[in-house]
Symmetry: C3
Subunit: 221 residues, 3 copies
């Protein structure tokens, strides 16, 4: 559509690799969740697609960045459709019952990768550091929020009182810190992704809680 | 706003006619649904407007295409407001009770028309065929999804196990096929719209189901 | 991002002041609602941010207007985060129980201010008057709709049968009327904001209702 400089849709190799892995990780978390909800095959494709591409698309709309990842690399949409249909028939044939636990691992991976790449891509668009981090948080959380809305449950990111968005926030600041101290782009991406993903897994394992209202005070006023 | 070539907001006569009929069809389906839910007159206007313009607006935001149909042709917004207010008082005066069945016909019409025109408009923006078809599916389904969310029910497109999005998908490929084999734009639009709409009506009549998990296995794991 | 004329992200002083006050008012309404729902501290930040910036961001995406208010004035995002965290610990320390009533006042203020500024900013983008008013309504209502969706309740704007969106509509037309009769921009903003906010407070006090279906007829057909 030619209205932006040439460098501006271009992702570095590291960013592109992360976008692909994060997309597949979130697609997988969407597939597991859709399977748990017994959606039909169309629903599996829709949930996998929204989870995988939702966050990056919101980021690109807000940054006015085109073309979208999934428009430029349409092959990955085919991969996703094949995955969704294949996963459904595979799970059905083998009587597999996906568990919530099986969804949490790819979800944590996607969280860290998208938080890091979303923050870095926003920094390249010359927005202030805080805004870049907020964009990273949106990239990392919006796909999962769409997944939960379509599966008709309150978005886990807002309701489970376990740290989620705040870890993407921390990962985003790790990217900013590494870049501000002269680290390479690749080092910044790695620092952000490892910070957010490993904190998420740790939080799930240790059952960390976000400070909240006292539970003995739980009726609305 | 002058940043895109002149040809790029322009719709052909056939596309414009389809956009108008599809908009009115979806507005009607929104009115029936809002009436079934006993929304107030403001709610009827909002639901009719979201259903009618939601899909096309999402398509245009994703394609970075301006001006929107409803911005350029503001007269149709007046028509919609008049329809919503008129429909409410007409139905109230005549003690009409709209049925779910009455909503399904205009909904099927809007589905086919928007799938066809959304796909063709995206093709003109030079995106790959699969992406154009996905854009057509979004154009055709997003308005109805917004309608269902505002009316506080799980989007029918994701939950009723009857083919819906997949028929828009089929209609989109019909557009691609006719254009790839040298058919005119009008023939492509007609092929896509007839494919999706008539399959939808057939699916409702014959009670076709989308392949899904076994019903004897319906508790979450 | 330099693709639009210089005047086009620029707000007049009056518009900027209104954007700030309206943002804080909606942030406050989001905080009260999040506190009533006993969200955790991350949820409070998210709800306050969505309520405060949601409407203006939707308006700017639809008008293809950049940079967003919160990208250009990132300091206010810091203010918001500080407010959210501070409000939570303050309310917790003082055992305050926020009431629904406490949310309605800042909500009414934000409604009027955003309806007026949203309409005026859209008029400056040379859209037809009706479209500008609709943009004002979206600016004024979308933040509250997001707040209610995230807090897992049906958007009050669509369900409480008390006038809300229709008052933003009236405020928008007040802006159009003052500008059409040669009033200054500041007078138009004041007229629109006072119209919508004071009507909302009056409507709440007098318990006005929007015309709706008869209540004795409330089952779906």
């Amino acid at each position: 559509m030619g209205k932006l400089p040439d460098w501006w849709g271009a992702l570095s190799t590291a960013q592109l690799a992360i976008e692909i892995v994060a997309t597949l990780a979130f697609a997988l978390s969407g597939l597991v969740e859709a399977a748990r909800k017994r959606l039909d095959v169309v629903g599996m494709c829709v949930v996998a697609g929204l989870t995988a591409f939702g966050g990056g698309t919101l980021r690109d709309v807000l940054l006015d960045r085109r073309p979208f990842f999934w428009v430029q690399h349409a092959g990955w949409v085919w991969v996703l459709l094949a995955l969704a249909v294949g996963a459904m028939f595979f799970m059905r044939a083998h009587h597999l019952r996906p568990t919530e636990r099986a969804m949490l691992w790819p979800d944590a991976l996607g969280l860290g990768l998208f938080a890091a790449s979303g923050t870095q891509i926003a920094l390249q668009a010359q927005v202030p550091a805080l805004i870049a981090v907020v964009m990273g948080v949106m990239t990392a959380t919006f796909g999962g929020v769409l997944r939960d809305i379509v599966c008709n449950q309150i978005p886990a990111a807002f309701s489970d009182h376990r740290p989620y968005a705040v870890l993407a926030f921390a990962g985003g600041w790790a990217v900013v810190a590494v870049q501000a101290t002269g680290g390479t782009d690749e080092a910044a991406l790695a620092a952000g992704a490892i910070t957010a993903s490993s904190l998420r897994l740790l939080a799930l394992q240790r059952d960390w809680r976000v400070p909240a209202w006292r539970s003995d005070d739980d009726g609305p006023a």
